[in-house]
Amino acid sequence: MEPLYGVLELLVLRTLVFGPRHGYAIAGAIRDGSRDAVKIEFGSLYPALKRLELKGWIVASWEMSEHNRRARVYRLTPVGRRQLRQETSEWANFVAGVSRLLKPAQGEVEK
């Protein structure tokens, strides 16, 4: 699997580790957690949620939010948790690989 393709899904799974959240909260958590470095359009996030739900990595249910409103809340499933662990290590490998590539090789002289 191409790592970059799954980044959004990885981020969503990661946000849900701390507990169930609804869609809008997930978007906010990604934005705040990355200190505004990663901005996700809601138009991309929402289909990603449906994708994860379809894969069975997260499940959705209607709950009451903190403001006493009805909200559709997503939570990780055991499969999703396992998937998160695996993909996190894959991501780390990927990042390490890319960094190695971007670092000037030993003996190579920059002109």
Partner: protein, 861 residues
């Protein structure tokens, strides 16, 4: 798990629940977020739906339902669009079916590409046949794996058991099937041995169709005999079902070896008479070019050096992959014209549809803008419009195929109006289907995608901001441009129709050198009733005498060949005492007394053939005017002698030239001989009768007389010289009819285009007209405005079409008779007709606009 979940979305209630959840969820999130923070939620929902994977299926279903609904809502549009598409595709497919059958199909034999036909070109369009002697000499070469000779299309009167039929047969050299590489369907095919021993054991091969038709596919047919003009021949085999002979379109029933010629063609084909066609198979390691040059050298030694002053002949090697190309040659010109006309018609139909769709896009502008504004993606809308076009294409394509099925047959029967029936396999094959599909898809892309993209190209801002009027304006210009393009092509087709019609009129006005009205032709074949040899001659002779004395019949004669039909016997001749010029071939006709009087051919000098010119008197001949000037330049020919084979004849008359092989062919050199002086010719069974009575009455007379003489013999084919003439210009008549048909179609499509465009533009501009009326314009003025709107693109189209027609009509020159392709009268008439049609089509919407009253027009919008 994933797949299963996806499957559940196919269930309607499951999908409805999901939809509901999604809507509520998005609503709740929208309530939490800042306005505009989330962007296009409709798009997000759409993309989420796409995750369910079945979305494409759903969308297609939706698109199809939606397309059908919108088409149902505007039946006039749907009908005109489907009709013009069906006409275009139907015409193209049926024409292609014909082209496929005549021009493209190869003979059903192994490696047909290796087959080559021999030809000796004796002048423009004249290819000579070969004599048996030449055939044997040409067989000695290193370039070919085999060379065989055949005589296609010979009428065989055969009888078997109690049945009789005039069948079509051919004569082939013994090695023919070996050269072709054919295997028998049943029994075996002819061999060299059959050819050599044919007198002792005459063999014949019958076609699969003949076997099915007359022997009920009986496997015991082998060894049975056919009666061929009083001689028994044995059936030794049946050819494969797909093989119909050497000529596409002409089926052959019976094949016998060329050594049986005396039984079929009365032994007239002596060793040096040219009556055979040659077809060979190249050695696999010899190229076509090498073979052509090697064989040309061989040919030169066979025919001898060219005589000074004689017309130069040359040897050509033609591709034999598709068999004999006579039919191809005869029809390739009309077929090429058909293709061109069909191409234009398709272009017109496409332009027509495109302008209809543009006009529609104009009407739907509001709807589309609204949907874009509500968040539908552009791709989705383009897809829906494309689906709509595709539905039209499918309907049009289906209609087209249905039309093509009957159209092809109609065209084949049109082509068959000539002399011989034509059996063409125009059934729809894979290539044909591919062609139709190609046209359908191409048409969809051309007329569907363009308006769809045009309709969604403008960005939303400007469209919502500006009034829709500017957009309408630019679309209207585009539609008018299409109308102009359509007129350009239509103009070309209308001019073609005019030119061919004029050409046909001229052909009918030609001085034929004979009197073709009130002349009846009756064929009688006693052989059908088993009467052959001397008995048959006696019946025919007595019938002739009986009819000659019948009141109402002005004069009567018999002949082997008739004008316009081409001659069946040609040979080289010489002025008595001079050597034979074998490069020149003249036509022979064997005729009865009063031949020239009966056909109304004027004699320039000398006398007609008389009853006294019989086997006991000295041999005589009448020659044609052009033969006289070729062989006796500047000298009176009457009284001089000609060497015809072994016979020396005295010339007793010179007759005016008549178009023997057809009006448009070169005048032939003809020798007319009394049939009674030629031992090999029996009494010809073709009677020519000049009469004041109606054909039906004469037919009754002939039937009655024949019944008295020989009750068993039926009266054969009956026709008139007029019909014979019509048959001889069948190609021209066909061209005129086809051109007329396409011209009419083009006019019809222009009418549809003008009407469709104006009608929708009138509807669009109702408010504008209302304002104009309110400001004091008269209805008449508005009507004029509409008319001008229609006439502007049409006149522009005529102006652009004029040089196009002028330059492309030059190609038609060869097919025209006595009419220049730049005939000013035709051009003028075509332009006037086109304008008139446009005015008539524009009149209805123009009147509607002129009648509108200001108040209701303003209120409506």
């Amino acid at each position: 798990v994933t797949l299963w979940k996806r499957m559940t979305y196919l269930l309607p209630w499951r999908r409805r629940a999901a939809e509901r959840d999604m809507r509520e969820e998005l609503d709740s999130i929208a309530a939490m977020a800042e306005p505009r923070e989330l962007g296009n939620l409709t798009r997000a929902a759409e993309d989420a739906r796409a995750e369910w994977e079945w979305a494409w299926l759903e969308h297609t279903g939706q698109d199809v339902r939606c397309a059908l609904r919108t088409l149902r809502k505007s039946p006039a549009f749907a009908v005109t669009a489907v009709l013009s598409l069906a006409l275009g595709i139907g015409a193209a497919t049926s024409i292609f079916g014909l082209v496929n059958a005549v021009l493209l199909r190869t003979l059903p034999v192994p490696v047909p590409e290796e087959l080559v036909l021999f030809g000796e070109i004796a002048g423009p369009g004249r290819i000579l046949s070969w004599s048996v002697e030449q055939f044997r000499s040409m067989q000695q070469n290193d370039a070919l794996a085999g060379l065989c000779a055949f005589r296609p299309q010979v009428n065989f009167s055969v009888t078997w058991a109690a049945e009789a039929e005039l069948s079509t047969g051919q004569l082939v050299s013994g090695n023919c099937y070996e050269v072709l590489g054919l295997r028998a369907h049943l029994g075996r095919l002819l061999t060299e041995t059959d050819d050599a021993v044919s007198a002792a054991h005459p063999a014949a091969v019958i076609s699969y169709q003949f076997w099915r038709r007359h022997f009920d596919a009986d496997p015991n047919v082998l060894g049975r005999t056919l009666d061929l003009r009083g001689h028994a021949v044995y059936i030794i085999g049946v050819t494969p079902p797909e093989f119909h002979g050497f000529e596409p379109g002409r089926a052959v029933d019976i094949t016998v070896p060329i050594s049986l010629e005396p039984w079929v063609l009365q032994g007239r084909m002596t060793a040096n008479v040219r009556w055979l066609r040659l077809i060979g198979r190249l050695r696999s390691n010899v190229s076509y070019e090498r073979a052509a040059s090697e064989l040309a050298v061989r040919w030169r030694t066979v025919v001898g050096p060219a005589r000074p002053g004689a017309p130069t002949h040359r040897f050509v090697l033609l591709s034999g992959a598709q068999g004999l190309n006579d039919l191809r040659e005869q029809f390739s010109l009309p077929l090429r014209w058909l293709m061109a006309a069909v191409g234009l018609l398709l272009l017109i139909a496409c332009a027509n549809l495109a302008s209809l769709l543009l006009a529609r896009a104009r009407v739907r502008e509001q709807e589309l803008t609204l949907r874009l504004a509500l968040g539908a993606s552009r791709g989705r809308i383009v897809r829906q419009l494309l689906t709509e076009s595709l539905m039209l294409s499918i309907l049009g394509g289906a209609g087209g195929l249905a039309l093509a099925a009957s159209g092809s047959r109609a065209i084949v029967s049109l082509l068959s109006r000539g002399r011989t029936p034509i059996l063409l396999d125009v059934s729809i094959d894979a290539r044909l289907l591919g062609f139709t599909l190609g046209i359908t898809v191409a048409t969809t892309v051309v007329f569907g995608l363009w308006p769809a993209i045009a309709a969604t190209r403008q960005d939303l801002q400007s469209r919502l901001g500006a009034t829709t009027r500017t957009v309408i304006g630019s679309n209207r210009r585009r539609a008018q441009a299409l109308l102009t393009a359509q007129t350009v092509f239509s103009f070309v087709l209308v001019i073609a129709a005019g030119l061919f019609a004029r050409s046909l009129t001229k052909l009918y006005g030609v001085d034929l050198g004979l009197e073709r009205h009130q002349t009846l032709i009756v064929k009688v074949n006693p052989g059908v009733a088993g009467e052959t040899g001397g008995r048959a001659n006696q019946i025919l002779q007595e019938l002739s005498e009986l009819l000659a004395s019948t009141p109402g019949i002005r004069s009567l004669t018999q002949a082997m060949d008739l004008p316009f039909a081409g001659s069946s016997y040609r040979a080289s001749i010489a002025v008595a005492g001079e050597p034979i010029d074998s490069t020149e071939v003249v036509s022979f006709n064997f005729v009865g007394p009063r031949f020239f009087e009966t056909l109304g051919i004027p004699l320039i000098a000398g006398r007609d053939v008389q009853l006294s010119d019989d086997a006991r008197s000295r041999p005589v001949a009448v020659i044609s005017q052009s033969l006289a000037s070729r062989y006796f330049p500047g000298r009176p020919p009457v009284g001089r002698r000609l060497q015809l084979g072994t016979v020396v004849v005295e010339i007793v008359g010179v007759a005016k030239d008549v178009p023997y092989a057809g009006v448009r062919r070169e005048r032939e050199l003809v020798v007319y001989r009394p049939y009674s002086q030629d031992a090999k010719t029996g009494v010809p069974g073709t009677y020519v009768i000049r009469t004041d009575l109606s054909p039906a009455v004469v037919a009754g007379l002939v039937r009655h007389s024949l019944h008295e003489l020989a009750p068993a013999v039926p009266v054969g084919a009956m026709t008139t010289l007029d019909a014979q003439f019509d048959g001889s210009i069948a190609t021209e008549r066909l061209l005129a009819r086809i051109a007329g048909f396409f011209g009419a179609m083009a006019l019809l499509l222009v009418a549809i285009g003008v009407y469709g465009n104006l009608a929708s533009s009138v509807a669009q501009r109702a408010r504008e007209f209302g304002i104009r009326l309110a400001l004091g314009a008269t209805g008449r003025r508005i009507g004029r405005l509409i008319l001008a709107n229609a006439l502007l693109p049409v006149s522009l189209g005529i102006m652009i079409g004029l040089p196009l027609a002028y330059s492309s009509a030059r190609i038609a020159q060869g097919a025209l008779f006595d009419v220049t392709s730049h005939d000013p009268l035709t051009y003028l008439t075509s332009a006037v007709v086109l304008l008139l049609v446009a005015v008539m089509a524009a009149a209805i919407p123009a009147r509607k606009a002129a009648r509108a009253d200001a108040v209701s027009a303003l209120k409506r919008v």
